[in-house]
Symmetry: C2
Subunit: 223 residues, 2 copies
Amino acid sequence: MRAVLLLSGGLDSYTAGAIAKSQGFTLFALTIGYGQRHARELESARDVARALGVERHLELAIDLRAIGGSSLTSGDAVPHDRDIGEAGIPSTYVPARNTIFLSLALGWAEVVGAYDIVAGMNALDYSGYPDCRSEFIAAFERVADLGTRAGVEGARFRVHTPLIALGKADIIRRGLELGVDYGLTHSCYDPSPAGRPCGTCDSCALRAKGFREAGVPDPLVLR
Amino acid sequence: MRAVLLLSGGLDSYTAGAIAKSQGFTLFALTIGYGQRHARELESARDVARALGVERHLELAIDLRAIGGSSLTSGDAVPHDRDIGEAGIPSTYVPARNTIFLSLALGWAEVVGAYDIVAGMNALDYSGYPDCRSEFIAAFERVADLGTRAGVEGARFRVHTPLIALGKADIIRRGLELGVDYGLTHSCYDPSPAGRPCGTCDSCALRAKGFREAGVPDPLVLR
């Protein structure tokens, strides 16, 4: 059974892919270069795709900087040393990003004959993004069924988000059980020119908290 | 009130934009170059955006040829002299195209503070595309409300498809009432290198039928 995996190069999508692979899916990995400031993650995505043994890895480019509205796609500073628990949606929110990414995954899924899409969204320990919630995912599945030839012909699309109810520590534990090499991943929103994580953005903070709570060292920090 | 208009350069999206403008919307036109073989329509989109007096015209590029699955984005021949009434979804269907386009429109809408998206889909005299049906549009509105910061903050997005229940002839009549200049548009899927319509693809056939039934000459044919 084929599945399209939305693969960012971060630890969530790698873990989601490893879970899907353990369930028997043949993976078609889709990575989207959207003009993100942490384009370093695209390199990690290639390493992760190789480690997952995907059937194919497609990289698509769409420059969301032209749309703007996010500190991840602009020259604006991303927040550092923020209290992750604080209310509200941070400036790193990219308008409609997951809707756009799922749509592209859907198009490719239809072409390769996959009715399953795998994505690493998680709703616990997340950054307050609306498009990481399960009600959003369910609504997208309906769009997929109604808006495709495959859906009209009777296929039912499913968006698998195996991490949606897991905290970062549980994600990491699950990944390690499955042999995931987190040293290949990149999480930081604001890396140095050489690609080193800043250690203080939301994404670094959530990652550090996850490894700490899982009681294992982060291989990226050890290096 | 601001609205994002999905503007292809064809006659439907121009007419939909003219209707939205007549209702008082300030238009932000979004045109997507997706590697379509009829890239000629992108030039028409610029002319139409000017004629509509849009506030801004954004062109985004995303190469859907990498995804494939359509004769509109591949070297495969598009159908000519087909019976438009025949059952089934033709090879010119682009997997998930309208989902992708609406997602991009949604992202930009959020950034410019628009909660209205205008698109030219029509379900009568259409080519059998699943993503032109009103149930698909309604499902997408739900995705928009659930997957955006604006939606979480209480906005309700609306996708306006003022042509959805109109045949081509009615669309043309309505457009002419509103002063639309159909000589600026491009409909053909398979134009000559110089950009001349072929006259026999589905899109040309629907256009010709529309002008014939409206009882008016097509300014593109007169030229």
